[in-house]
């Protein structure tokens, strides 16, 4: 008998629509997989079997099987609102908060008849690169349980890798989709900033946050992008630029496309297998008739400090609403100030507190110019670097990470952890679309990812190129 959980999302929908498999049948296969693996991997914060089964039964009754995601189980990162479900963003401070509205992406998924299966674990407020910062439990890498799945969308990456769900939604502020995708051996797409609505995504850093899919292959990423991309009247930062049919353009050749290799990447220490994987991807592209050019992003190394000022600055303000008054965790105190301080100090984890403090400092009187403003100017320079690069090439290729997954509790200092994002962060600062695709394994058998970066709003070409290099 066929194992439905081995199918891609695209294949699953196709077979459901053809009547070959049922919606409930599909769902039950996944639920069985979850039962087998979940205790070890712990990817979900919430699973609603009953509601999912009820929805599946309803869909099975329908005569017309409409919707791009018809009958497909989808997992949603827990920092995204789904009406009626708790949304904790991996934080104790949101324990007990029940979403009173659907995020725009969730609305789109429901409209296309996808089935929301549950909420996935993540680093608290998406701050982290290993999912160890979840207030509830760490998620493990399905490839090797001693290793982290990456983060912050570690739950979403791991549940796709473990075949517990067909496709998952994550968010990426500095690499939070691409890094866990690379660590778990799945595809992770971070669309252009403004391509997908953030409405309903619990904000970490508003000028950087982007929602995107984690999937088994590039085609599935294209499928999900078809569902979630586009202007949204609820999000003033979405952009009204034409959305392509990403499935339609996936095939087609990439002959003559110019691909840039960033010279400065090699200034960083990169694990050998990752360099090799990059090289073999480059060779593949050459084989497809692409022209490979060396280009320069001179200010690449300043991306990390710029990001770690801007993101915490915005976060310090975004997280001010968690005061215990209207929802979520509440402590007590004799008077208001004490109540706030107790609620927030008990409710936030260490990494979140660190970033709130850094961000508050960076915006405070006397330091604003030297930190927030300086970092925002450097951000402009980095964006200009990319703009120059894209005058010469159609896409860039670089490793997603400098190393493969690390072990739980292996990274010591916060700064050491921040360095994990050196190749993903610059892309967020510039707001560009990027995708991480699996490119083999290292000698320990851990997945390796290669990252492609496209021009603003040109996800179509990006996906096509990615489709050509994926295995």
């Amino acid at each position: 008998m066929m194992d439905i959980t081995k199918l891609t999302a695209y294949e699953t929908v196709k077979r459901i629509k053809s009547g070959e498999i049922g919606v409930k049948e599909t769902l039950l296969s996944y639920l069985k997989k979850i039962e087998e693996r979940e205790d070890l991997i712990k990817t979900f914060i919430l699973i609603d079997r009953d509601r999912a089964i009820k929805k599946a039964e309803e869909l099975d009754q329908l005569e017309h099987k409409e919707g791009l995601l018809f009958g497909l189980p989808v997992a949603i990162k827990d920092n995204i609102n789904v009406y009626g479900y708790e949304a904790t963003a991996g934080s104790k401070i949101l324990k007990g908060y029940v979403s009173l509205y659907d995020a725009s992406v969730v609305e789109s998924i429901k409209r296309e008849n996808g089935i929301i299966l549950g909420k996935t674990n993540c680093d608290e407020f998406a701050m982290g690169s290993s999912t160890e910062n979840s207030a509830f439990f760490p998620t493990r890498n399905p490839v090797n349980l001693e290793y982290v799945p990456g983060g912050s969308s570690g739950g979403s990456a791991a549940c796709v890798a473990a075949e517990e769900v067909a496709i998952a939604i994550g968010s990426d502020t500095g690499g939070s989709i691409r890094e866990p995708a690379a660590f778990c051996g799945v595809v992770g797409l971070k669309p252009t900033y403004g391509r997908v609505s953030r409405y309903g995504l619990i904000a970490f850093a508003s000028s950087l946050d982007v929602i995107g899919p984690l999937s088994k292959d590039v085609r599935d990423a294209a499928l999900m992008l078809n569902v979630i991309a586009g202007f949204d009247a609820h999000d003033e930062t979405t952009v009204d630029i034409k959305v392509d049919d990403y499935l339609d353009i996936l095939e087609g050749n990439i002959k003559g496309k110019k691909i840039g290799v960033i010279k400065e990447v090699m200034d960083f220490e990169v694990q050998k297998e990752l360099k090799d994987a990059l090289e073999s991807s480059i060779q593949k592209l050459k084989g497809e008739g692409c022209e490979i050019l060396e280009i320069s992003i001179p200010y690449l190394k300043y991306a990390l400090p710029s990001y770690y000022i801007i993101a915490p600055s915005e976060a310090s303000s975004n997280l001010a609403r968690f005061d215990g008054v209207r929802y979520g965790y509440e402590s007590d105190g004799a008077y208001l100030r004490e109540f706030y301080e107790n609620t927030r100090t008990e409710g936030f984890g260490d990494e979140v507190k660190r970033r709130i403090l850094i961000g508050t400092f960076a915006l405070s009187e006397g330091y604003f110019e030297d930190y927030y403003l300086k970092a925002s100017k450097v951000r402009r320079i980095i964006e200009m670097d990319f703009e120059n690069a894209f005058e010469q090439v159609d896409a860039l290729i670089l490793p997603t990470t400098a190393t493969t997954a690390f072990k739980l509790n292996e990274k010591k200092s916060p700064l050491e952890m921040y360095m994990t994002d050196i190749f993903t962060i610059p892309v967020n600062l510039a707001g560009l679309p990027a995708i991480s695709v699996p490119a083999g394994t290292d000698k320990a058998g851990l997945p390796v990812g290669v990252q492609l970066v496209g021009k603003w709003f040109e996800e179509a070409l990006l996906l096509r190129i990615a489709h050509h290099i994926e295995e």
Partner: protein, 479 residues
């Protein structure tokens, strides 16, 4: 002599249907927490979307305040913790406001004066905290978020104001302008207009220490608080003590200001650009189009009433500042002429009627036709001005036309000289003492005698004729 230096910070609620960043209703006095949504109570993940009407109204007000409208302006976050501030920050304009560098010209005691406006920007209001009992002693405060996200325009003046009267007049004019434009009701009791003041006093050119006063609930409070504060600061300086830079609360009950008892709060709002809202770009065409929709404003109207109609400043202002009054006034005089008489009737008789009945001027059942009739009765000397006032009062209340009332009540003026002369002769007999005084050169008593004749006639005697005949009779007596 100590000279006060005063600056105002005014928050005007723009009268949109929905809030500034979400579609919740702005209805006043709704049940607590019934006009709220994910955006205005700061649920995680909710995002602001700007209301176009706020921009339209903001631009309109900015132009009316003679400001330069910035074609590109931006939104910032002002960060601080307060329980009625759901997001932990207020979205406001900071680096580049919607409007800047304006002025209003006010008139006080026949003096014109320019009050410069530094800036006018749009922002969201916070919710409302309700403290039962003493803020320092009650165990809890209660929060209603219905107001959270109501659109405001903050107007900041330069410290050009030099007296409580000027402050009062500035507010009065500003509110009137907002009402003419239809952008705000300016009702202080409904929180649609709030005002904080900054005041210092100084004997010379060196500026004194600035004190901020809050909790001003009416224009009168603003005036009273300033008067009190001028005295307080002057006294401190004269006694050789220093004025402390602080925020004080006005106490409505005893008319004093009191230092606010707060723990030292760090005032560091950490303003930074609101990443959820790209800059607001307004086209020059839009600004021009809005500018063309601005009607004649109350200060222009007032000037016109004074110059063209010779109204007193008080009457001109009172009529010009209330859109419904001036509309009524102008519709009548366009038909009848005689603006001074009409203004007088409106400010005395009709105002009284409105006060008594609580009605609006639009509901007054005395239109241009009735006015014309009344003025014609005066013109043709059928009734005197005094009688006319009674007729007007009667007509509004009974619904009868002025001529009907004059006929029914027999109010026609007595113009028959013989009748008047016989009345006058009687009056002179009854008031021999006054007659003697008059003949002895104390001509002032003439007024008393005229009054007595008018009284005898039941107010119907034609005063000019009475005067004429009375003088003649007195001269006869002298001889």
């Amino acid at each position: 002599m100590y000279k006060p230096t005063i600056g105002l910070e005014i928050h005007l609620q723009l009268m949109t249907e929905s809030k500034i960043f979400c579609s919740c209703s702005t209805e006043f006095a709704a049940k607590p927490n019934t006009h709220i949504c994910p955006v205005c109570i700061g649920l995680p993940g909710a995002l602001p979307v700007l209301n176009e009407k706020v921009i339209e109204y903001g631009v309109m007000l900015g132009i009316a305040l003679n400001c330069t409208i910035n074609e590109v302006s931006s939104f910032y976050r002002k960060n601080y913790f307060y329980p009625d501030l759901p997001k932990g920050y207020q979205i406001t304009q900071y680096a580049i406001p919607l409007a800047k560098d304006g002025f209003l010209e006010i008139v006080t005691e026949n003096q014109r004066k320019m009050i410069r406006i530094e800036k006018a920007h749009i922002e969201e209001d916070s919710g409302k905290s309700i403290h039962t009992g003493d803020i320092t002693e009650s165990e809890y405060s209660f929060i209603d978020f219905n107001r959270s996200g109501v659109p405001l325009m903050e107007i900041v003046t330069y410290p050009d104001i030099e007296s409580p009267d000027e402050a009062y007049e500035f507010l009065n004019l500003l509110r009137s302008i907002a009402r003419y434009l239809g952008v705000s009701t300016g009702d202080m009791e409904k929180g649609a207009l709030r005002c904080d003041v900054n005041i210092s006093v100084s004997k010379d050119e060196v500026m004194g220490t600035k004190v901020e006063i809050k909790n001003l609930n009416s224009f009168r409070s603003v005036k009273r608080a300033l008067e009190y504060e001028i005295k307080r600061q002057t006294k401190l300086i004269e006694e050789g003590r220093t004025v402390v830079k602080e925020t004080r609360h006005f106490d409505e009950k005893d008319g004093t200001t009191k230092a606010m008892r707060t723990k030292e709060e760090l005032n560091d709002y950490r303003y930074f650009p609101e990443p959820d809202l790209p800059p607001l770009i307004i086209s020059g065409d839009f600004i021009e189009e809005i500018g063309q929709r601005i009607p004649e404003l109350p200060n222009q109207k007032m000037r016109r009433f004074i110059e063209d109609y010779s109204l007193s400043i008080d009457y001109a202002r009172s009529i010009a500042y209330v859109p419904s009054f001036s509309k009524y006034f102008e519709s009548i005089i366009a038909f009848t002429g005689k603006p001074r008489e009409v203004a007088n009737f409106i400010m005395v008789n009709i105002s009284n009627y409105l006060n008594e009945t609580g009605k609006d001027i639009e509901e007054v059942p005395f239109g241009k036709e009735e006015f014309k009739e009344l003025l014609d009765l005066i013109d043709s000397k059928i009734i005197s001005l005094n009688i006319a006032k009674n007729v007007l009062d009667d007509s509004i209340r009974s619904g009868k036309s002025p001529s009907e009332i004059v006929r029914e009540k027999g109010l026609s003026q007595v113009t028959d000289e013989d009748t008047l002369r016989s009345m006058i002769v009687e009056v002179l007999k009854e008031n021999e003492m006054q007659v003697r005084q008059y003949l002895a050169g104390k001509t002032k008593v003439i007024g008393f005698l005229v009054g007595a004749v008018m009284k005898k006639s039941g107010g119907k005697a034609n005063p000019d004729l009475v005067n004429k005949i009375l003088l003649k009779e007195l001269e006869t007596l002298r001889q």
